[in-house]
Symmetry: C2
Subunit: 192 residues, 2 copies
Amino acid sequence: MIYSELHNILSSKTIHLKSGQYLFTQGDSVKNIYCVNKGRIKLVRDTFEGTPILIHVAYAEESIAEASLFSKKYHCSAMAGTNTEVIVYSKDELLKILQENPESMMNLLKQLTTQVRDLRMLNETKSIYSAKEKVLTYLSTEFHRDKDSDLPLKDIAQKIGMAHETFYRTLKILENNGKIKRNKSHIKLTNL
Amino acid sequence: MIYSELHNILSSKTIHLKSGQYLFTQGDSVKNIYCVNKGRIKLVRDTFEGTPILIHVAYAEESIAEASLFSKKYHCSAMAGTNTEVIVYSKDELLKILQENPESMMNLLKQLTTQVRDLRMLNETKSIYSAKEKVLTYLSTEFHRDKDSDLPLKDIAQKIGMAHETFYRTLKILENNGKIKRNKSHIKLTNL
DNA sequence: CGAGTCGTTGAACGGAATCAATCGTCGTGG
DNA sequence: CCACGACGATTGATTCCGTTCAACGACTCG
């Protein structure tokens, strides 16, 4: 997780959320920064038009609300999408430690840059219209390695922006074509 | 741009690229960090399967290769998609200054966090299947404000992941429905 | 003045979303 | 401990809407 190396310096606590339970609500003062340990957290923004929009779904190992590290209020709400476990860090404490330890700040910087890179990659993967191409591109990139290996197929489908049914079907086609191999829910590209 | 506040401290130079010209190539040693001033830079990765994949398109005000701030070699190639102007910073110099100025590092951190937030938002916008919904969601978010206001409609279409023809048509429909107003290429939501 | 690109519209096709039903598994509570 | 409910994985059928191909005018830039 993002703050792993600070884990022994930073005080933290773990909390458990039931599916549907809120972690924080849009407009709340930012007191804490969180990291998903298990399950998933949906970030939702209430727009002025009424219809709330989904901003992001954070899975295990993902930190949320880092952007809030520099803002007073949460700009969105966070709800558990399933039974979820999150680690809680104090925002002020985190900021203080970062200021005192340039090395750890540099480290956070590093992690953020790779996060940006991954997000860009994912973004472009989503722009691919053909289901086969999209899946192949996803599989051939590194941003999902390890991280996504234990994600349910359904969630992977959502992550790359396609209906899960289409994802299943596409996997089957690619498997029949010999492009991929898989046992249970572990998928591997065949070529090299 | 990302390093704006360092602009007077950091030495920099501006270079001009013709459409199709390369800024750097995958595998090159990372000597510089860049920021697009005008035009656009396409980041492309050559995969082992042969087919190169588009990773990202960077427009004006966007920095590229920040991820490379921490790596030895570029993991992708950068090509001008049109006549383009980029600002060049020395990687080593930038790193040194960041280490010496915790405040500027903190500032970069801040900009990266908002970048992450924007990317996530864009990501979810791309996940919306309905063209109308997608466009409305895009227009109702802030991540594009100012930044995208001068982008050609064609590029906006690509940014949110739809064919430009569909984008034009959708805009027309929304305009007829009174959901949006526009003069020339400036679009505005009508409600509040 | 011509090449290139953006903006726009038309027509047609195809593929992905959607709706729906089934099976298996896992966790949970009675 | 077992039954029930929730959810993931899968497959089928259908519909529709967004992509694609194509053509044209306007504008800019060199």
